[in-house]
Symmetry: D2
Subunit: 389 residues, 4 copies
């Protein structure tokens, strides 16, 4: 089952870490640490093998892949020896990275994306392609009546540029018969009109906003307080991060999108929203390793005041990269199994998951495991691939 | 369903906080924060109501209950206003606190405990009594062939004192037809001979070592790392605590028992034991609020080194006290439902639970919820109480 | 040497904690912990004794002193037993608390303040009075040509209200022949016109912004990095605080004044400004105890990247209150010794000290000790008091 | 002024980091970050230039210098590019590293050391040589009457091995007319008999135990609490470290020596010893970067309880290496200036300094600056070098 992974933002830190990692795993040069789909509970036969993934993508920047990989190695995100050992394989991926289409007419941009996706699929004889958005976070777009349904959207596209870029990508993906994963908090497939297109095209999509660090911790700590009937009074946090995404998040509009996404887990798992905020602060020199600090104050029996602090010092790219591979594999398998529309079963991976789903990590894990088992069950009963053969 | 709660160590911090709290809840003076059995998912009809609990106990010290409660209020563990408001109710409990039986012949000590338990049950017309050990942690006892089976134990009791005190209490509880909860890491009912007695007496028991702070956090964080396939390399911790239990844990033997209990969750949930230890250190001036600090180092995708620290500043007595009430209610309900022997379904409450059970908090929670639902189901089908009536 | 201490914001947390503390010390009910002037190195004969301090003040709120003290006791800032023991003494101070003069004409407001100060001095036969501003932080005022010199200011006062309130208080204090301490980051005596008035009136003043917590720590850690030639790359912080001052600082304008004041120490002691900011965030439920967290990243020999985190959990009112007493005693002694204008020697106490002074705490300490010794030396040579007698 | 630096433990992490760093600085490949003697306040003309230092040493291990340097680069202690660029220079130092003399008769061992030192000095035409002990920490030796004076020691050396290895090195250094620096907590020159030899030989020595991390922080924070008259109630710490020194410190005897050394600063700067301990724990996987966590609880005005935590994540070798260069330069300059015996002025560098000296870092800094200025003053008045010429 040859599966294409088309990375929107294919020269960015997350995309390049994923690419180098997938190539390294295939070459037996690394362990699949951080890859959830390599855990026994999720290792489903229905998933495409890592060796079956073919990478391509778009980007607005033009830094050569190897150069970016070397910069990541310098920053401690990747081992330098891997970059050195994978020169040839990286060149093959480099050949499939295209400049992100731009232009005044959004309809033309979408057409070009569709053409690139179709060409990629045909060139490599791929069974299916997953488009994964790992480009910079967009500001929340203004409301637009064209977003409400597909007819209105198509009418608006005939005369203007009604979509934020992430949604234009989702539109193009669905048009090309590709599934779509939004790893960022950007709008993507969340507009009703775009979601409608996914259903019509018969393809699934997943999102939003990969859960890699502080929110991951929140998604186990908040349920812990809830299960123990302890009352969380305040939960405040500060995220210090440098690197590319950090600079972008310094933009207040993008920051607001991200911060809201980060607080959602508290309300959903506690049943109430404690006081406090999560701040994101860009400090260039911090680099690719993010430090998040959280203070939780809570009261226990008879009102006794207590507190907990944690600090998380993680490399966002290294945390996100294996999840990107997991999501590509799971979404491709869901596509093949005939799933269309949102995949709420993948909530485990996201800060701001699609659908009415639990936000406690353990609950999400249970759902994910059942989903993976279901893919295998479908397969046994007569898989689309078998039918196609 | 009038239920007795007999506290071994009834004048200690945990016992007194539980007692004051139960009285305050009954009087409508406090919220049931920290009481797990008051959560919707666990609020089973089969559980005795808080108002049905009657308190008594043993202790080697003689500090009046009110004096101890005032000291706890001074230390910030309890609101002073509650102690003032509950003078009368506390006097009623005071009347049921007995000096802990002591003596050269352990058989006589056990007899006296049995007599005290029986008297307590009869005096108050109790349906059943739960004995809860919240006394100081004992050193790990030396191996003794008399611990292997009940016949050998009874023979040894005829001539000597083969049991550690916590096990003598468990023996007496079972002899008196009471269920038993070990909230400490002491041996209690864990000896085969004593466990055999529980089965013969047809009573259930639960344990060991209430999970109140650092280990609670570990039981959600370690599964998080496991679910994300992140490799935990080291997990080291320091617990700084004052107060009575702290002084006792400064004794290296007791400390060893506790530390081993605290590391178990890591091996069980990660599937391997990372490097590092958990240290307990007594610092008198720290008082009743414990500060625990943990450092976790882990590696992610392609071996990237990352780290997490947390510090937990909690009041052990305030965290333990509501769990003691939960355990008394759940164990009494299990007793009534005809359960005998160990109750592994209560693993949620313990650092070092009985039986082969999951150690991830969310899994333990699922099992606990099913257990509580089961108690209600039993009840509907024809409960022992209905039969007795 | 009877000395008046006139508190602007006399019913606020800091003022009331100072007042209760001074009364408690005088009554022998407390130790002078936190009082710098009680350390051997500073215990100068020239300082007024704590027993010689007489308290009065202005406030816009009308909460009775005892009520506020009880609220502080409830919040853990003060021991309740002190409030109970000092009822009578607090009533005496209550009698000297006046409503803060308000009105359309600032000249009249100033006149009323002068009248209150003069009345206070005469009523109690005080040798001198120190006015201490512990009211809420003001926004930074707009530039105004009337601030440039005293003639322009007096002309502007004749027709309008050119001064921010803190500066109006400084103006009134100087007019009344009182010295002035600005414990807040507000403008106070920093306007050239107001400073000119101090010199003409022959009175000294001190400020700005009491250094109580995070900045205090910075003032020893930053010099440590400097003395070791370690390169601080980033220094970021988050201050979480509730209580009255917190709510006020949530106002972005006041927050900006405070944050700038908090970063100054880094540039001054390191010789360069590292990346990063200090944020202040109001979280009502945090209450009177502030938690500050700082992350410092630095590089050492051959560029090796290292890091330090600290969290400070302090009670601002309890930290500030004894310093207020120190400042009142030192400023009164300086006044008596004939000092006029700014007192840069008191930089030890301030985040944003007056004059070109060192910002490393140890250097400020050396200067302060010399200043205290100097006061005694002046005194021996023929003190103003001796002359007056 | 050509100066030899003879490193006892010359193939260890600290020694190799110092060596690579000194060579890199000389070659203009690195900045002198972390070198205290490169700060304007200490840049004395009397100090030997970095370019004048010549390195040699002893070690019991035989790992080639370049191999060790590469391992340090792999561990993130050194930039790999420096090791690559300095191959030739490292080979020159390699030629001056000798196996540590061993043998049954300590007198012979000392003789061999003396011969190696003398040979090194003559081979390179060195004006003087500083012996620096950076070998593994020894256990505290048993008391021995032979340590009391030089005559007794010499008698004991004639028949046995009365000295711990570090003291044998100090003895040999002094015999060879070399100055001596003890960067470890080992005994070194602290025995009266060995100190006597230093005075007779007319050479100076410095020590003990380089202050690189947690104790450095304590030496500014403890004085901060003292200057503010805040009462430190408890100070507890945990040091987690891997690498070579860590493994050695896991030995309880060496651990005890180090821990005592680490607490001394508190008693000396606070004037009393707060409760609590500093623990050192070896966790192999932590590697060369040490994490120390400290909890300080203190009370302020009217007894209000407050707390501070810090965690320090530093690379001990990177922190120690530049100080080693500083100490070699300063001790050589003191030797040249005619100083003999202990150099208490260098307390700034040590956890457990020689003599009755202040332990607050700022005070030690002041003394160090005066010392450096004094060296230049001596020089102007007619330096030993001028006389020798």
């Amino acid at each position: 089952m040859r599966t294409g992974v088309w990375l929107v933002g294919g020269r960015g830190s997350v995309a390049v870490t994923s690419t180098v990692g997938a190539l390294a795993l295939r070459a037996g040069l690394a362990e699949p640490t951080g890859c959830v789909t390599e855990l026994p509970a999720l290792r489903a036969a229905a998933l495409p093998a890592l060796a079956d993934l073919v990478f391509g993508g778009h980007d607005v920047v033009t830094t050569p892949l190897t150069k970016k990989a070397e910069a990541l190695a310098e920053a401690g995100v990747l081992p330098a020896r891997l970059v050195a050992a994978l020169t040839e394989e990286l060149a093959t991926v480099e050949a499939e990275l295209r400049p992100a289409p731009t232009g005044e007419r959004q309809a033309s941009v979408i057409e070009e994306i569709v053409a690139d996706l179709t060409g990629f699929r045909e060139r490599h004889g791929l069974d299916r392609v997953v488009v994964v958005n790992v480009s910079s976070t967009e500001p929340v777009p203004a409301a637009d009546p064209a977003h409400a349904d597909l007819a209105a959207l198509d009418a608006a596209l005939a005369v203007g540029s009604p979509l934020p870029p992430s949604s234009a990508y989702a539109y193009a993906a669905f048009t090309a018969g590709c599934s779509y994963v939004d790893f960022t908090p950007s709008t993507g497939a969340r507009l009703p009109a775009v979601a409608e297109l996914a259903r019509r095209a018969g393809v699934p999509y997943a999102g939003h906003d990969g859960k890699t660090g502080e929110t991951l911790v929140k998604s186990v700590l908040a349920p812990m307080f809830a299960m123990r009937n302890l009352k969380v009074r305040t939960w405040s946090g500060l995220n210090l991060l440098g690197g590319g995404d950090g600079a972008n998040l310094a933009d207040p509009a993008a920051n607001a999108a991200k911060s809201a996404s980060k607080q959602r887990v508290l309300g959903e798992t506690l049943g109430y929203l404690p006081q406090g905020n999560t701040r994101i602060e860009y400090v260039d020199d911090i680099g690719d390793f993010k430090t998040a600090w959280d203070l939780v104050t809570f009261s226990g029996f008879l009102g006794t005041a207590m507190r907990m602090e944690f600090s998380w010092h993680g490399c966002d790219s290294a945390l996100a990269a294996p999840l990107l591979l997991d999501l590509a594999r799971l979404t491709a398998a869901a596509h093949r199994a005939g799933r269309t529309g949102p995949l709420p079963e993948l909530a485990f991976f996201f800060k701001d998951p699609l659908g009415e789903v639990p936000h406690a990590l353990a609950d999400q894990w249970g759902i994910l495991c059942a989903f993976a088992r279901g893919l295998d069950a479908d397969r046994t009963e007569g898989t689309p691939d078998a039918v196609a053969a």
